[in-house]
């Protein structure tokens, strides 16, 4: 029931697009001209019709096509990618299948034209909430990613990480600072919130020119033909590069993390995350 209410709240959002035709029209009316897909452009019937379609769907269709329209235990296909649903405008194609059946689907002769329009409206309203790149409507699940062995994670940490990091030093209270386990895991694997740019971990460049000048500073831009850096006193310097001149040495504090990615197993990652999760 909770899920159904949520679906309805999404519907109301869809329904409140400006320029949506308010009458129960059979013809195509652009509901949201900025939408890129026709299933989002089409106007929906009034909310009470969609709600009636919801009721009809739950009674007649849900068992085979699933509570979320993505197919059910009785083998009905996923309606959200069904050719019939995708080409249907206001029940004319969906209605034909309802009344005549298709494959192993029985006929539903008891459906009136209003019933068909209502069920079609409900299906289209759910379809209109699909996200981009063909995704389903939003799926909101709480999935626990903390499956690792914290003790094994601690052993790994002490062996491999403790030369640079400490749970009483730089990582003290890390799981309080980063309370979302996804973000905690992504952050420690990557070696920081951002690898470059403002506030991120910075690469230090040492540039030695042919005239004997040596400059040390934060690396800004770097390619085969150019390097720029900001020295500790805030001065911006840049050089044209030709081969090895000027000589450039980079100190990338994330170098070890980049190496680690090839070595880390997924179970080690999960173990270390479980360990860091205990560092409150």
């Amino acid at each position: 029931m909770r899920r159904r209410l949520k679906v309805l709240s999404v519907l109301i959002l869809v329904w409140t697009f400006p320029a949506t035709a308010q009458e129960n029209q059979p013809e195509l009316v652009i509901a949201n001209p900025n939408a890129m897909f026709i299933q989002q452009q089409r106007a929906l019937p009034p909310l009470e019709v969609i709600e009636r379609g919801d009721d009809l769907y739950q009674v007649n269709c849900r068992l085979c096509h699933g509570p979320d329209l993505r197919g059910g235990d009785q083998g009905g296909p996923n309606l959200l990618r069904s050719d019939v649903v995708l080409v249907d405008i206001a029940g004319e194609a969906i209605g034909e299948v309802i009344v005549q059946g298709q494959g192993s689907m029985p006929t539903f002769n008891n459906f009136s034209n209003e019933d068909i329009a209502a069920v079609a409206g409900y299906i289209h309203a759910i379809k209109a909430t699909s996200e981009g790149q063909g995704s389903t409507p939003p799926v909101d699940l709480e999935l626990d990613i903390l499956v690792g062995d914290a003790a094994a994670g601690e052993r790994y940490f002490n062996q491999e990480c403790s030369s640079c990091h400490s749970v009483t030093g730089d990582l003290s209270g890390i799981s309080s600072r980063i309370s979302d386990a996804y973000i905690l895991q992504n952050t420690w694997v990557a070696g920081g919130r951002r690898q470059s740019g403002r506030g991120g971990v910075q690469t230090t460049a040492t540039v030695s020119t042919q005239s004997g000048e040596t400059l040390v500073g934060r690396l800004l831009r770097y390619d085969d033909f150019f390097i720029s850096l900001r020295t500790e006193d805030g001065t911006y310097r840049s050089f044209t590069r030709r081969g090895d001149s000027p000589r450039v040495e980079l100190d990338d504090p994330l170098y070890r993390h980049r190496e680690l990615w090839a070595e880390l197993t997924d179970s080690t990652i999960h173990d270390v995350t479980a360990y860091l999760e205990t560092i409150k």
């Binding site: 001209p33 890129m36 080409v87 799926v139 990613i145 996804y182 090839a262 999960h270």
Partner: protein, 524 residues
Amino acid sequence: MRYLTLIIALIIIPGAILAQDVVVDPADLANALDGDWDTYSGDYSGRRYSNLTQVHKENVSNLTLAWTTEVNFNVRRGNRDGTGIITQMGGEGRGDIDITSGSIKGSILEVNGVLYVTAPDHVWAMDARDGSEIWHYHWETRGGTHIANRGVAIWNDSIIFETPDNYLVSLNANTGEENWHTELASFELQYFSTMAPITIRDRVIVGTGNDLDQPGFLQAFDAATGELIWKFYTVPMSEDDPGIETWPNLDATSHGGGNAWVPGVYDPETDLYIFGTGNPTPGYTGVARRGDNLFTCSLVAVNVTTGELEWYFQTSPHDTHDWDSAQTPILIDGVIDGQSRKLVSTAARNGFFFTIDRVTGEHIVTNKYSRTANWESHVRETGEPEPNPDKEALIPGTLVSPVEGGVANWQPPAFNPNTGLFYTQENNGYNMLYLSDPDPRGSMGLGGKIRAEVGSVESAFQAIDYRTGEAVWRHEWPGGGGVNAGVLTTATDLVFTGDGRNNLVAFDGSSGDLLWNSRIGNSQ
């Protein structure tokens, strides 16, 4: 962004004065590439190997910027005195979807000193000497995914291109006026069309894209009239179709993807069009499509006369990472074990390089050209990398290389017959992939996962020996990050590409030495 800047740093225009009558005889497309660039890859081979010798290792350093121009997306109606550009209009949309920006992400064709440039819903003809506009065509869209347009085809005196809302449109090459348009895929089923069509004899070969679990197909249309000649599905569409045994059921295969969205190559000797197919769908959740999922992520050879499958080789069985194998392959006339062979090679998005006999489909070489790709458990005796199910998106997260964009993507590689080397980008990076929709029915489209960028290890440019798949030389781009730029090579053994740092660069194709760069701006 209303305007785009198009920058041409390297112009080699044939001596002829700008001719107003553009005519490309389809028979010419089978010839080696010289003065004109009149099909997506320059010629049918996919080599992007120019026979021109005017620019060579000694003078390449003298190349300088010739011109820049701002591409104008606006609808224009000409001046009162009858001069100026009049935008030619077409389309089946209502004119209420605003597409007045976009980026140029395809091959620009050049014929007789005229460039043909595209963005979604737009085609421009420009004078190659100074970038001035000759005509502009604007298609009023019905909507759909406006991710890119990969360029036009030229057939006799017509320009043929695809629109995002799935029309094939033919224009007069000299005026931009429309000859005809025809629907090539269903807008309702959320197909979208980006591919540069390939003209072969009297027909035009087109593919489409789709993100909503619809089956991929390749079609041939009559280039003169737009009538459909044949339609080849890349996945089984009936219980009797080949490959059905690699899917659990017809519902899965007929929603199985495998879209043909990047141009392939053509071998006139065998009349085979050879192309790479897209990833299976749903992209990240393979649970409801167990099996190899033929003919997704495959190199596929189709007879151009009949539209029938001649052979296939699957470069990525049962992909679950959105790593399509649509990359343009390259025809190579090579030598394997002392024997002359007709070959085709491809550097796939999944990080593996393959060489196949292009007449029979026999597998010859598989080699991992990425230093970090970690998704396969082993290579089968038959040459296909075997996916490791532990590297799919899983609830607690998996560390996967390459990133979603792959080791290489649609940007075309090149092959130089003098050096015998295949030139490609190599992007090595990692993502964390989480399964967010563990439903046993599978998700849809590219949904069902959460992706977190971990970082780039390195990016490089490789020169690969097609006989082994091993790099003969490799240039690491300083600073890492993804580098996606196409490649051009010449009879003087130059190799041009982008460095992902705003430079167009030239390599010595034999040694890998950098010979030249021009900071032209975004070069990928």
